[in-house]
């Protein structure tokens, strides 16, 4: 592609006079991307997350050994080396392979929690904010009750009631992480509900349901995406914490938190058993945080207006 | 009224960096001001407010101000230190902004704000500062100065707030006053009261006044001379009394396009903007 076609393409995207719905939408996305990519650290964060996705997708290819079956006779607690890059654990399993497969479980937890918690928070927050009055009071008091407990303690209580296991851990984390989203969505809703453009839609005869769904929610989504991304690290850590306490993923699932828990016993003599999954959690959490920061610059609704 | 030159502006330019390159908000504005009332008129984006801000030294830090000459009473405003500039600002040059709601400190009583302003620029005792602040509130025709002295900005009406703002700006006895749309946020009847006060004070104290506004008719009824700006440039300078004979089609268009009671025109004449005006 010559420099000229790139230049003309950029002009087409940045045009102040889009000629079609598609051009308008792409132009908007392109402006957001430019703002995002101006932030180097955000790009690093995005690369880490893309890396995580790739590792999870190609775990079968990338992992040289089985994540669950080890060589108990010859390969227990080997230090990092050429045969086992990150060493082996007490059951003779290759830690590198377990971390690669663990990426899948990390993603599984993070995505499921986001899919469950964010829409609940969005719905509760926008409805409370738009309806006001009693609806608002009731919904927000419920939110307050959830917010009153430390997240991990509440998640522990839920898992204890539901029974240990990674699905229940996901549920427990989702149940405990929607209230902040509801607060954000409500705050956003309150700032726009009295604006003239929402009044204008009311004056067209739109139902409250339609106004919330089609006019208010789109305005809340960007701040919610930012918050969810920034929370991903916390979700991973909570999941790891539950795994560590034995209430999350059950053996022999290669979940990172559970891996640290089982490595704890040899942390002084065979440090790599706990250190490798710990480093993986650290890097991925950092990636999500950097990505979230970049998204904040790119999607901030206040800067989008101008 | 004029005679000596108070302010001399020659080829003033204000440039803002944006994502798409440099944008010149003010492109070579020149005028001089004696102890008179000068109006700067233009529509949004004409650079009239940025001109006032540049003189005042309130241009945002990312923007660049340049001029062949920008001198106040012989002092080159572009070369003095920021400390000297600050000392000038508020003491010898004062500015009134459009909405008193945003330019008064909401957590300080009106009286205290006036006293603080006075005491940052002059060495006066607390009691004397109070005396002068009360006298100033009286001068802007606030009926009960002692009561208003102890009120917070949100407790007074828009017209009262703007009077307090004028009092605060005038208490140090400035020689040049820049008023940026001082009455646009006020009701029409209040607007005239505030203008009357401003007019009286400017005349009594022999100040120079720059009145920035979008309202050509109001400005021409108030000022001695009018500078008309379009797209960052001065398109016409004219005596207010001779406005009817304005040469530039933009000035004429601006005068004509407003509805007037007793002059029925349907449809209203509209401005046909020519690209060469901005050239």
């Amino acid at each position: 592609m010559s420099a000229e076609t790139i230049q003309s393409r950029r002009e087409w995207l940045l045009s102040d006079r889009p000629a079609s719905r598609l051009q308008a939408r792409l132009g908007r996305a392109y402006v957001a991307w430019r703002r995002f990519s101006a932030n180097r650290l955000a790009l690093v964060g995005m690369l880490i997350i893309i890396g995580l996705l790739v590792v999870a997708a190609f775990a079968d290819v990338l992992a040289p050994y089985s994540p669950t079956i080890g060589d108990l006779k010859n390969a227990r607690l080997l230090p990092p080396g050429t045969a086992h890059w990150f060493g082996t654990d007490d059951l003779g399993r290759d830690i590198y392979s377990r971390i690669v497969y663990g990426a899948r479980w990390t993603l599984y937890v993070v995505i499921l929690v986001a899919i469950i918690a964010a829409p609940i928070g969005l719905l509760v927050g926008t409805i409370a904010g738009y309806a006001g009055g009693w609806t608002d009071t009731i919904l927000m008091r419920i939110t307050d009750i959830f917010l009153a407990f430390p997240k991990l303690v509440l998640a522990l209580a839920f898992v204890a009631a539901l029974g240990p296991g990674i699905e229940n851990a996901v549920l427990a984390i989702a149940i405990t992480s929607w209230p902040p989203y509801a607060r954000i969505a409500r705050a956003e809703t309150l700032t726009v509900r009295n604006s003239d453009y929402i009044k204008a839609v009311q004056l067209m005869g739109a139902s409250p349901f339609r106004i919330v769904l089609r006019h208010i929610m789109p305005l809340c989504i960007s701040s919610l995406i930012i918050r969810v991304t920034l929370d991903m690290a916390g979700i991973i850590l909570t999941a790891a914490g539950l795994g560590f306490l034995g209430l999350g993923a059950q053996p022999p699932l290669p979940e990172w938190g559970a891996m640290i828990a089982s490595g704890r016993r040899f942390i002084l003599d065979q440090w790599w058993v706990a250190a490798a999954p710990g480093a993986a959690i650290l890097i991925v959490s950092l990636g999500f945080n950097l990505l979230g920061d970049g998204l904040r610059d790119a999607l901030d609704p206040r800067s989008g207006d101008q | 009224m004029s005679g000596e030159t108070l302010l001399d502006v020659d080829d003033l330019r204000v440039t803002f960096p944006t994502r798409t390159g440099l944008v010149q908000a003010v492109r070579g504005v020149s005028f001089s001001l004696g102890r008179e009332r000068l109006g700067i008129v233009g529509e949004s984006g004409s650079g009239k407010s940025q001109t006032g801000r540049a003189i005042m030294g309130l241009t945002p830090p990312q923007a660049e101000v340049s001029a062949k000459k920008l001198a106040f009473d012989g002092i080159d405003l572009l070369s003095v230190s920021s400390r000297e500039r600050r000392a000038l600002r508020g003491n010898r040059i004062a500015m009134i902004l459009q909405d008193p709601k945003y330019s008064l400190d909401p957590v300080m009583t009106i009286g205290r704000q006036i006293v603080e302003t006075l005491r940052t620029h002059e060495k006066v005792s607390r009691s004397e500062a109070r005396e002068r602040a009360l006298a100033m509130l009286q001068a802007v025709q606030i009926r009960d100065p002692a009561r208003v002295f102890d009120l917070y900005p949100h407790e007074v009406s828009g017209g009262m707030g703007q009077r307090a703002m004028i009092a605060m700006m005038l208490v140090t006895g400035p020689e040049l006053m820049i008023a940026d749309e001082p009455t646009s946020a006020l009701d029409v009847t209040v607007q005239l009261d505030v203008l009357k006060i401003l007019d009286k004070l400017v005349a009594e104290r022999g100040m120079g006044l720059i009145f920035i506004s979008h309202d050509l008719r109001l400005v021409s009824s108030f000022c001695d001379r009018v500078v008309v700006m379009y797209a960052g440039k001065v398109v016409e300078q004219i005596k207010a009394s001779e406005l009817r004979d304005a040469q530039h089609p933009y000035t004429r268009g601006l005068l004509n396009c407003m509805p007037r009671i007793g002059f029925e025109r349907h449809p209203l004449p509209v401005l046909d903007r020519k690209p060469e005006w901005a050239a």
Binding site: A200, A206 | V188, H214, S221, L268
Partner: protein, 248 residues
């Protein structure tokens, strides 16, 4: 001539503060009626009460023969539309012009959307080139044209105008006022227009009501006002103020 809007003894109370204290007016079909007053006069509240955006404490509002209750049905909004004061705040920041104009059609299930949108944009002098722009890609005057197009797209018979030009430059104001007059003539609309500017109201309206502190001061025809045949001091003050500053 039949009455389009009749308001009788209208009271609006916000937090125990009486914003409107028993105001009555009647607007005939096809007439352009103005409400003039300063801030706090209740002129905008009167418009909002008609549309249902402000709570009515007592009094009745009748539009096209139907007396309005507490809520407005969809049919009401096909008949009565409103243009807001601030063109920067009345367009959704995340929607294109196309989407903004589609919304009323979708709400009322109107099928020939494409045609109506193109016609509406033509009518307000914007043309197809503006259809896929976002609000931030438009100037103040263009935004107000979009707002007018949005109000017209449901083909209402009454247009409520809340200071439609006070946020615009004088030259743009003239264009928008001309546009409003033109659509009114073409569509035989009834206007109820609010402004603080006496000159704009006399230019646009045949009759007007001067308001102060939530009450009607007096009702005049435009020609009475032009001839300075007013009976209240307050109106006289407003008239004098609208002539600009006079040095004594």
């Amino acid at each position: 001539m039949t009455a389009s809007i009749t308001v009788e003894g209208l009271e609006v109370v916000f937090d125990r503060f009486r914003v409107l204290k028993g105001v009555s007016l009647d607007v005939r079909e096809g007439e352009s009626y103005g409400l003039v007053g300063e801030s706090g006069s209740g002129k905008s509240t009167l418009l909002r009460a008609i549309t249902g955006l402000a709570p009515v404490a007592s009094g009745t509002i009748t539009v096209n023969g139907k007396t309005l209750g507490k809520t407005r049905d969809k049919a009401f909004y096909r008949d009565v539309q409103m243009v807001f004061q601030d063109p920067y705040g009345s367009l959704h920041p995340r929607q294109t012009v196309d989407r903004l104009l589609q919304e009323p059609l979708a709400i009322h299930g109107i099928a020939d959307g494409e045609k109506r949108i193109e016609r509406a944009l033509d009518e307000v002098g914007l043309g197809k080139g503006f259809r896929f722009r976002y609000a931030h890609q438009l100037s103040g005057g263009q935004r107000q044209r979009v707002a007018i197009a949005r109000a017209l797209i449901l083909e209402p018979s009454v247009l409520l105008l809340d200071e439609p030009t006070s946020a615009l430059d004088a030259s743009v104001q003239a264009e928008v006022l001309n546009l409003l007059e033109e659509v009114r003539r073409r569509r035989k609309l009834t206007f109820l227009m609010v402004s603080h500017d006496l000159a704009i109201i006399t230019h646009m309206c045949e009759r007007l009501m001067v308001m102060q502190n939530g009450e009607a001061v007096e009702t005049l025809t435009a020609s009475q006002l032009i001839g300075h045949r007013v009976s209240e001091d307050y109106t006289r003050n407003l008239l004098r103020a609208s002539e600009g500053f006079v040095r004594v």
